[in-house]
């Protein structure tokens, strides 16, 4: 076996790959199932951006917390939320992560430190400041990660939270997933700056931009930032340039994208392809090893879909539970 040129053990490398593959398959499958009309509501797919959630969250344990977005499936999977429960939730079933009450935009698992996907742009930023504050009070060295897109980066809540985190030296990492679009609107319409990373210094924190399609780039930059936050060094901003492979939500005709944009990105910027190639080229694993993972993941997703479909819907009586005021 050759020397490992990567900052992760082979085991962790394969774990990272499995996470990214699971996210990709989960999303590709939703794309198919949605088209069939089986899935209620809107779903926003994370396909293409897997390296961000995975590269960042490989550094986390259950003590660490994340606050996610409307495009949250990838963050959930990388935080260890049960894929069966997630799928069932998206199908609106009683066996879902939120017992069918939340749906795609509200998957949460606080026991795993996953504080929820969120239907409100930027809303996770204050929440994660609170999680980080709790960790600071407890002295448990927990770190909080909040994700937001290039569009949500301009929500007042996000901006206020950056200031708060810096003022209070909170262990928070602000991750911008800059995929160039907010729904159908180009990031050029969202702001007067070329990169959000310049905002960091204005709030008193370091910032760094990386290629979010490159797992290793994300992993290394996030590692340093997270370590620093964990050691009491305060917050930071991590901007990841990414591409989303699908539309804003399923059903989006993507007329606003350049012709061939998706194809180009899939061909040349696929985090899974480049990861696999680099690890194979380094002689650490073979295509067979990866194929094996792919196979296992495909089975997992198949199984998740099958059991989600077979699962019962919530009972009508569920409508009135889980709000304290009994009406």
């Amino acid at each position: 076996m050759s020397d490992n040129p990567f900052p992760l053990s082979l085991e962790d490398l394969m774990r990272a790959y499995r996470t990214m593959r699971t996210i990709r398959d989960f999303e590709e499958r939703l794309h198919i199932e949605f088209a069939k009309g089986d899935i209620p509501g809107f779903v926003h797919l994370y396909a293409g951006e897997e390296a961000v959630a995975t590269g960042v969250q490989m550094h986390l344990t259950d003590i660490d917390r994340i606050a996610s977005t409307h495009r949250g499936h990838g963050h959930c999977i990388a935080k260890g939320v049960d894929v069966h429960e997630m799928m069932a939730e998206i199908y609106g079933k009683a066996t879902g992560s939120c017992r069918g009450k939340g749906g795609s935009m509200h998957i949460a698992d606080l026991s795993k430190g996953m504080m929820g996907a969120n239907g409100i742009l930027g809303a996770g930023a204050p929440l994660i400041c609170g999680a980080a504050l709790a960790s600071k009070f407890r002295g448990d060295r927990g770190v909080g990660i909040t994700y937001f897109g290039d569009g949500a980066a301009n929500q007042g809540t996000v901006l206020e939270s950056m200031n708060l985190a810096a003022a209070w030296d909170l262990p928070v990492v602000f991750v911008v997933e800059n995929n160039g679009y907010a729904e159908s609107t180009s990031v050029e319409f969202a702001t007067g700056v070329d990169s959000y990373v310049d905002r960091a210094s204005g709030f008193g924190m370091p910032g760094v931009t990386v290629d979010g399609m490159d797992f290793f780039a994300v992993y290394e930059a996030a590692g340093e930032i997270i370590r620093r936050a964990r050691d009491g060094g305060g917050p930071a901003l991590l901007e990841c340039s990414v591409a989303r492979f699908y539309g804003h939500f399923e059903g989006d005709a993507q007329t606003y994208k350049a012709k061939g944009e998706n194809e180009y990105n899939r061909e040349n910027r696929d985090c899974l392809k480049s990861f696999r190639k680099r690890v194979c080229d380094a002689g650490l694993a073979t295509d067979r090893d990866f194929d094996q993972i792919d196979l296992e993941v495909a089975r997992l997703i198949d199984d998740a879909v099958a059991s989600a479909k077979a699962a019962p819907l919530p009972k009508p009586s569920e409508l009135l539970t889980d709000v304290y005021v009994s009406y």
Binding site: P40, A94, K101, M105, H106, G119, I120, F189, A190
Partner: protein, 340 residues
């Protein structure tokens, strides 16, 4: 001339006609162009559900795709209104009001009063309301009672394409801030709508079905549930319900509602909002205070439950007030007739 068009098209047409008529009308919102400057500009989204589609081609830079900063752009619309423009800002879902409410309720709503009558703020905030879209707790709320509670805001919620067009044109011409609530589950519903421009005055409820036995008051989507209930009551129980569509929640047409209650002696109010401090309460209480003598039975309120909107179809379907629930409520007003 009239022809059948959808609620969505009627709104689009109202915006188009007012933009054509008055250069001070501008539109601001997230993705209201939806791909300006992009290769597919000619086929731009025109809003997340296509309501403003085509307007960019006609009116160009008078439509502004905004950053995702509701406080800033809704506030900018309000500021521009105070400076003589007639902006129409789109708050994509009313559920997002929590990130920009201050500009609406402490600024726009209060200028006129706070400044001693020396300001006017002719801004319209168009926004989607209501459940039934499988969009869960943060994209399905009504929240109309919250806006109705605030003095200085006018609150409108049309139930059909004809009203949508006439009320939106009225809203744009009105000199006060207007919250224009579009029920997302009505966008596809069609009816006959004149091609010309016309207005519907605020504070005029619409008797959409006449009847002598009971008054059912509602607005928005549930007007149609009320009509279904009325049909069923007529068919099965020979009860003739009068159905009133409020159309405008603030100002509200108390006269029409109270006259009807005085005639029928029975009142059922249907509100897709949560029960506490709702429009259902508002109307039932007003009737109880003002036409108490006329009431032959306890007024009944039919609302969504006191819960966030659930995601699962099995729960959401029973969340929105149903025609059955309305029929049952009518039953209570008729079963329990006043001893008198």
């Amino acid at each position: 001339m009239t022809r059948k068009i959808s609620y969505k098209t009627a709104i689009n047409e109202a915006l188009d006609q007012e933009m054509t008529r008055d250069p001070s009308v501008i539109l601001l919102g997230e993705d209201i162009v939806g791909g300006a400057g992009a290769p597919g500009e000619a086929d731009a989204w025109g809003g997340v559900l296509g309501v403003t589609k085509g307007l960019y081609a006609k009116h160009g830079d008078r439509l502004l795709d905004t950053p995702l900063s509701e406080s800033a752009y809704v506030g900018a619309a309000i500021g521009a209104a105070a400076c003589g423009m007639r902006p129409v800002a789109e708050l994509m879902f009313i559920d997002f009001m929590g990130v920009c409410f201050d500009q609406i309720f402490n600024q726009a709503a209060k200028f006129r009063y706070m400044f001693g009558g020396k300001a006017k703020t002719p801004v319209v905030i168009r926004t989607m309301v209501g459940a039934g879209f499988r969009a869960a707790a943060q994209h399905s709320q009504m929240l109309t009672p919250i806006f109705t509670h605030i003095p200085g805001l006018k609150v409108i919620c049309p139930s059909n394409a004809y009203d949508a067009k006439g009320l939106l044109i009225q809203s744009i011409r009105d000199d006060d801030p207007v919250i224009f609530c579009e029920h997302k589950n009505l966008y596809g519903s069609e009816c006959a709508v004149p091609t010309e421009s016309y207005t519907i005055p605020f504070g005029e409820a619409n008797i959409v079905r006449e009847g002598k036995d009971v008054t059912i008051v509602s607005y928005g989507l549930t007007v149609h549930r009320a009509l279904d209930a009325a049909e069923s009551l007529a068919r099965k129980d020979r009860i003739e319900a009068e159905v009133i569509d409020l159309r405008t929640l603030s100002p509200i047409d108390w006269d029409t509602v109270m006259e009807s209650v005085e005639k029928t002696g029975r009142l059922v109010v249907v509100d897709e909002a949560h029960p506490r401090c709702s429009l259902a309460c508002d109307i039932a209480a007003y009737a109880a205070q003002h036409v108490f003598e006329a009431l032959k039975a306890a007024p009944q309120m039919v609302t969504a439950p006191h819960t966030p909107t659930p995601f699962s179809p099995s729960l959401e379907d029973i969340y929105i007030p149903s025609a059955d629930a309305i029929v049952a409520a009518v039953g209570k007003t008729i079963a329990r007739v006043k001893a008198a």
